[in-house]
Amino acid sequence: MNIEVDQGKCVGAGQCVLAADDVFDQRDDDGLVDLLNAHPPAERLADVRHAAAVCPASAIAVSE
């Protein structure tokens, strides 16, 4: 799995952190997305896809 995040689009909603906090975090200074793991194991795919789907800014791209 490969994940890309776009901090230019991110609005800091934190939805991805709630969906998969082992993969996404928010930076302390501005609250924008911090990608902890760009290549998580395949079993995390469902949560990561959910994170991408609920992102209000469509700032997360996932490819298998």
């Binding site: 609005v11 909603a13 952190v17 709630l18 609920v54 209000p56 800014a57």
Partner: protein, 404 residues
Amino acid sequence: MSIDAERLKLPLARPNVLDLAPLYEVLRREAPIAPVTTPAGDPAWLVTRFEEVRLLLGDKRFGRSHPEPDKASRISTSAVQDGPTGEYATEEADHTRMRRLLTPAFSAKRMRMLGDNMEELVDACIDQLIAEHERTGVVDLHHGLAFPLPVAMICRLLGVPQEDNEKFASLSERMAGTEIGEDAHKAREEFFGYMVGLVESKRGALGEDVISDLVRAQAEDPSFDYVQMVRLCVGLLFAGHETTVNRIGLGVLFLLTERSRWDALVADPDGRVDAVVEEVMRLGAPGDLGLLRYAREDVDLAGVTIHAGDALVLSINAANRDVSVYTDAEEFNPDRPERTHLGFGHGAHFCIGASLARTELRVVFAALAKRLPEMRLAKELDQLQVRATLTGGVAELPVTWRSA
């Protein structure tokens, strides 16, 4: 049913506080962007389908400001989301700056860290309700839990004295009032005055709270207008309690009006509460209008031409019950496969307090299911007093767990 014979007048009357007008289903199918007359008597577009509501919320061709605010359609006589807000020329930059300032304070991680504290607060509220119930047999969950928890949390985050809660709750209620005419705008001015007093009293001793952060930021940035800063503080205090208080009420009603829903949560509170909260966020339909936007340019969409300056009412309530997105859309079903909704909005204006609200709702519903499993409504749904405000909800939530 024909819906284009005459312009619809908002709000569309609803059968009760949980259900929506059946006409929304017809609108989604036949006129997903329909010309309507707002409660204030002005023309607007009502958007009801999930696809268009989501698209419009994420589209920069639509904003909250208007180039000629005096000529813009007004939505209601309430003083919240009643018309355009912000400067047309600088709207996006102003909004981005505001989000940058506020986002860290409301981050998912920080809100989760508040969870333990919320649990203690909720437990204390429930202890008190249990003691009262022993004496009276019926207690009001609205005044005993739904109101005090969000108020305590937002006071702490913003740095507002909790003893002011009656004052700002009453100002909020009037400000969002839809049936009190000009008094809503008078309340907004009073709220502004209250906030100026608070801001100035804090200025000498700024602390670790959001209002202090905003005072600091405004003092350092000449382009950050003082009035804008105070309005933002008012908005945060208003939205930080009003919305969650209502949502707790609606959630309790969804759960208790159909016993099997409540029993399912009681059987496994920790395992089921997250899904229950998401379903409460999807189906709970506070207020009768929606989110307000103004077109910044002409846009052709869903068979209509929206002109620059036109007002649009985006019905989150209707979008979240769209049968083209949700199976058995009107059913309360936390196990549904569809896991997304627009209950917190979408796009650049996505609710900044979403993680706070989710944490509060999870703590409340898990604690209620664990500690008051026998709880039931002490009044019929139709007899509950509904609030005449933009944000809707109920003014009372009488419950009992006496053996019948």
